[in-house]
Each structure stands twice: as structure tokens, then as C-alpha cells.
């Protein structure tokens, strides 16, 4: 059976006509491949930004060599197909961590750049792209750019968050974060309402490098938006944990879940248990970076629990001014649309501006929810959420999207698209891009 190329949400199904398994960046001959072309890493983008139906996918996973690691200054250059997991195994023992990490370590460096990923420390250090020193980019006309913030700066800015549309990223140079320990000092605080979540987040951002909140989407009325505010800092004690071994995933989901498995009643039950398991107002833990940053990585292929229809993730950002009200309206709209979601994630983005033209984060509140694919009612509700977001001057995150209306996307990113379009490589495209870019 031929390998299938999927997004993490497994929706839509968009198989390429050709796959090039690239073993060496030296062998990349883009002009000889048939357009449209797109690089594919680990398929951890939720939506169709990583898919290229009936086009050519260049699978990058084997290009995973570390070309230079400056252990004194914490700068690493690696081929774009290396995963954050593989990189961490090399850099953590020497007292370095990736400057920004998404919620899974199974993403490639190329993917981290192309989607300009962010993490729980966005309020402190911005996106992944803020820490990229240099990129090698192969264009379909055969040219190769080495771009930095000052050299081919326009191509650099278009490539960070550029969804892979400016060419194929083959190497990435990134500045790392020094750490003394693998351990995180974490506090988890129970918040009884959305207001409390936001207030606690604002109060925490000053002293905590990593903050994020889990919200129970099914709670309504005065407890709408109740949740747990999590905050953490790397321990500054040199406790010898840097040499510790890494955990393999605890379990691997062997087959697709049935439709009822992640449906409204089971999700409601899960959320109640999750919120209720913490009795006290505050809970302190001293935990390893893996459960802190990557709790879901312990379960391999958890996405297939959503069954054959797959799932969607919705992530938007709205400005802080009026943001609380917007969040309320979005959550109510989803509830009215029958959307049930596992603990949604709320995070405050900071002011640090990414060099990436199409980079998603803007200062304000960002909300993220997973949901099983539903019917028209669900899609309509999400369209209404888009309207609320747009009306507030916010936007949705392309790396998570599989359904936004093209006109809505173009309106949300109108200024950015005007800058971005001339820098796209005409030989590159994706299912996402064909869906949203034109009338």
C-alpha cells in the first residue's frame, strides 16, 4: 500500500501525484520537478497548508543532518528536515533548548520556519522566526538563496511564515536558549471564569517565561471560560538533569477511533474531570520539560482517535482591547453551533514582532480549539467566528486551517498579502493556497 500524505487533522484528503523522497539537499533539482511543488515534513500542520493535491511533494525527513553546532554561543545550523525532537537530543545535554517550541517536538525545522510557530513564551521572545539567523532557500528556477535578516531580507521575510510557498527551505540557522536544567517549576491555578483567566495571565506574564491556559469550552453562563492557568520557568539550578535520557512515547494509537469516542458527552466528561482533578486553587510541580511542553507526545498518533472524518483545529488572535468580549462571543457561537472541544487553549501574545510577513501572531489573545469534523452547522459556526475575529481586527492561523473562506482569509491578511504575493515562487503551491488565494 502506498504511503498516504496527511495533515495532522486528516482533513481534507489531498494526495499528491508525485512524491520525491529527498535523501540529500545536494540532490534537490527543483527545475526538473513538475509544478506545483511543496515541501513536506512531518505532516503536523493541522490543515491543508502541508498538502499538495495532485502536485509534487518533496519529503524532507531524511535531510536531518546537523551541519554546525556552536556549543559555546548556542547557534545551530541544520538541514530543514530535522525534527525538534532529534535536535533536542543533541543540544539539551550541552545546556541549550530551542528558543520557541510548539506543543509537539515532532515538527521539522523547515516546518517551524514555514509556519513561523509560536509557543508558551511568545509574550517574552516572539515566534520561532524571531530567532532564525539564516536560511537556505531553493527556488524552482534553480537559484539558491542564502537569506538572513539583512541579506535578501525580502525573501527572508516572505519565507518566515511563508507556508512553504517561497521555495524549499533546505537549511536553517537558529539561535538557541541557554538552560541549566531540564526541569520546569510549574504552577497551575484554577480560574473560575474567562475574566479570571485573563487577569491571571496578565499578572503572570511579567515573572513567568511560559504561560498558557486550558479552558473548558462547554462551561457556560458565569463560568464560561473557566479553566486552569499554567505558568512555568526553567529551573535555574544546575541539577545534573541535562544528561537525562528521553522518554519514548508511552503508547501508540493502533487504529482509528469510532465516531462516539470523541463526541460531546465524552468530551464534557473529560473536561469536567480535567478541571476537577485539581482540588486546591493552586498546584505547584517541579516537572521535566517533556510533560510540560509536550504532554500529547506521550501518545503517538493521538489524532486518529478522532476517527475517519478527522478533526479541525481553530486558532485565532484578537487584540487585547475588546478581546475578552470577543472570546466570549466566539465561545458562545461555538456552543450554539454544537461544537464540543477538548480543553481549549488561551494564550496572550506579546508585542515582539516577527520578521515574517505572513506571520500569524499579533499582540492580543489567541484561542485554540480542537474539534471533530461535524456537519454544515459546525462549518457555519466557524464562519461566524471568523466574522467576529475579522471585525475585531484579528486573524486566523493558516497552519491550523482547513476550511476558512478564501475571501475572509484575504480580508484578514490584505496588507500582508500585497507584500507577500510578489515574493512567492510561482512553481510552489499547496492545497491551502489554491483554496484561499484566488477568487
Amino acid at each position: 500500500m502506498a504511503k498516504r500524505y496527511e495533515s495532522w487533522g486528516r482533513f481534507p484528503d489531498a494526495q499528491p501525484s508525485t512524491v520525491v523522497d529527498l535523501a540529500w539537499t545536494q540532490d534537490l533539482e527543483l527545475p526538473s520537478l513538475s509544478s506545483p511543488i511543496l515541501a513536506y515534513g512531518k505532516g503536523r500542520s493541522y490543515g491543508d497548508v502541508c498538502l499538495n493535491s495532485d502536485g509534487t511533494l518533496v519529503a524532507m525527513e531524511q535531510c536531518a543532518r546537523i551541519l554546525d553546532f556552536d556549543r559555546e554561543n548556542g547557534v545551530v545550523t541544520a538541514e530543514a528536515g530535522i525534527s525538534i525532537q532529534d535536535l533536542l537530543r543533541v543540544i539539551v545535554p550541552h545546556g541549550w533548548f530551542v528558543p520557541v517550541t510548539p506543543g509537539t517536538k515532532y515538527v521539522t525545522l523547515g516546518g517551524a520556519v514555514a509556519n513561523d510557530v509560536h509557543g508558551k513564551n511568545h509574550h517574552r521572545v516572539g515566534t520561532f522566526g524571531c530567532h532564525v539567523r539564516a536560511l537556505t532557500l531553493h527556488r524552482t528556477d534553480g537559484t539558491v538563496y542564502v537569506c538572513t535578516p539583512s541579506q535578501h531580507a525580502d525573501v527572508f521575510a516572505a519565507t518566515i511564515g511563508g507556508m512553504g510557498l517561497t521555495g524549499i527551505i533546505t537549511t536553517v540557522t537558529v539561535a538557541l536558549l541557554p538552560i541549566a536544567s531540564r526541569m520546569i517549576d510549574e504552577e497551575s491555578i484554577k480560574a473560575r471564569s474567562l475574566r479570571e483567566v485573563i487577569e491571571l495571565t496578565m499578572a503572570s506574564d511579567h515573572d513567568w517565561d511560559y504561560t498558557v491556559s486550558w479552558i473548558d469550552v462547554l462551561a457556560s453562563g458565569s463560568s464560561l471560560g473557566k479553566g486552569l492557568v499554567l505558568r512555568g520557568n526553567f529551573s535555574t539550578v544546575s541539577d545534573g538533569t541535562l544528561q537525562a535520557t528521553w522518554n519514548e512515547p508511552l503508547l501508540r494509537i493502533p487504529f482509528q477511533g469510532p465516531a462516539w469516542l470523541l463526541s460531546k458527552p465524552t468530551i464534557a466528561l473529560f473536561n469536567t474531570v480535567w478541571y476537577g482533578k485539581q482540588f486546591g486553587r493552586m498546584h505547584r510541580r517541579h516537572i521535566d520539560l517533556e510533560p510540560f511542553f509536550y504532554p500529547l507526545d506521550a501518545v503517538e498518533r493521538w489524532n486518529i482517535l478522532y476517527g475517519s472524518r478527522g478533526m479541525l483545529q481553530y486558532q485565532c488572535v484578537v487584540p487585547l482591547d475588546g478581546g475578552e468580549d470577543a472570546m466570549r462571543r466566539i465561545l458562545s457561537t461555538m456552543q450554539a453551533g454544537g461544537i464540543s472541544s477538548f480543553l481549549a487553549v488561551l494564550k496572550m501574545f506579546g508585542a515582539a514582532r516577527s520578521p515574517g510577513i505572513m506571520s500569524f501572531p499579533r499582540p492580543g489573545l489567541t484561542l485554540t480549539l480542537d474539534m471533530p469534523i461535524g456537519g454544515k452547522r459546525m462549518f457555519d459556526a466557524l464562519d461566524r467566528c471568523d466574522e467576529i475575529v475579522h471585525e475585531m481586527g484579528g486573524r486566523i492561523y493558516p497552519a491550523k486551517d482547513a476550511r476558512v473562506n478564501g475571501a475572509m482569509f484575504r480580508a484578514m491578511y490584505a496588507d500582508e498579502l500585497a507584500q507577500f504575493r510578489p515574493l512567492i515562487d510561482p512553481g510552489m503551491s499547496s492545497t491551502f493556497w489554491r483554496r484561499v488565494s484566488e477568487e
Partner: protein, 250 residues
Amino acid sequence: MASQTPTRIVIIGATSAIAQEVAKLYAVQGARLFCVARDESKVMAVAADLRARGAEEVAVYVADLLMRDVHANIVEQSRTFLGTIDCVIIAHGVLPDQHTLDHDVDATIASFMVNAVSVISFAHRYADVLEEQGSGTLVGISSVAGDRGRASNYAYGAAKAAVTTFFSGLNVRLRQKGVYVLTVKPGPVDTPMTRGITLPLMVPPRVVASDIVRAVARRTMVLYTPGVWRFIMALVRAIPEFIFVKLTKF
């Protein structure tokens, strides 16, 4: 007794997918590696990767391994760089398209020169070095394809059979001299060499690599990887030829 984790290692065919994974596992443990391959920019990338992952030092020798006149120099240079050699891994090879070879004698012989003759040339030379040292492990990457000739890959299989038999003989010769010989017989591995071919029980190179590292530590003589191939090939070898010819699937 010498340490069972080799720290001074020669890799012939260092850009092969299996060799890269084996080298990474030793690099993490701080090994000193002498890497030989044909393509300079690729082997330089491999060497950089091994250094970043913790190799104490990595030297690179760029050579077309078909050119037997450089083999002696490669052996000499590697001895100079490593001093005592703990482990030699001979991993280079090509998988030609048998349908093309069926009607091309020259191409068949050319593939045999790479997969058998140049491998035996290195194995012979390093066997002599290790014998003189009275220590070390010699690893040859052969294949399950060498266990029985099949219509779909008999040129490749015949070369691997030569390698397997040569290593078997070396094993008998050197066992009493403190030298360990390991013949590795991988089943189908998902590498650039097998691109476009989908085979049953195909495994990624890192699985084969960790089996090899374990086999070197345990001083295994013949490694089938994954292990199930030991049983499959025992069955395949036991089938009488007059029945085997009727099993067109093979």
C-alpha cells in the same frame, strides 16, 4: 578484555543510509570516526552531523571505491588517524535494476565489482590489519538477497553471497586471533537505494543500525535484521530448486 563499545571506527561507504545511522549511534558515544565515501559534499555533511552529535573527531576520505589502487592508501590513512582500529564497517553497495542487467553483461560485472570485489578488497586488507593488532571487529553489510538467487535480483544477490561467504571464511580464520567478524543480512530497508520499491517487512535504516550496534557489542557472528528474516530465509533456503523455480513470486 577490550571494551565492547568501539571508539575508533572506520566506515567504508559512510554516506549509505545504514552507515549514517550506525555512525550516529557511535558518534553520540564520543567515537572517533574515519569516513570514506565518493561524494565530497555529502560525506562532509555526514561528518559535520557526526561532530555535532558528539563524535570526538571525524576524518573524511573522498574516493571512488571502485578504484582498487586507492584501497591500500585508505587503510593506511585510517590507521594513522585512529591508531588502533576497534571496528571497520564496510557498507557501500548499489542495487541495480535486474531487468536492465538481464541483457547487459558489462553492467552485471560492473555491479559485481562494486558489491563484491571492492568489498572483498577492503575486507581482506582490514582483516590483515586487525589480525596484526590481535583485536577489533570487522562488519560487512551483506543482504538476505545473498542467501538464495532470485529472478528479481540475482546479480545483487550473487555479489552479496560472495560477501557472505568471504566474511564467513574470515570469521573462521580470525576467531582465534582475537578478531570478531560480523556479517549483517538486512531484509529490505527503506533507503534511497530501494527508492520506488515497496517490499514486505521494510524497515527504516535506524532499526537496522541499532541491531548492528547491539550485535557488535554482543559479538554476534551473523545478524539477520529484523530478526524474523533468519526464519524466513531458513525456509527459503530449504525449498528444493525444482519447487523454487515454480514460485514465480520470488
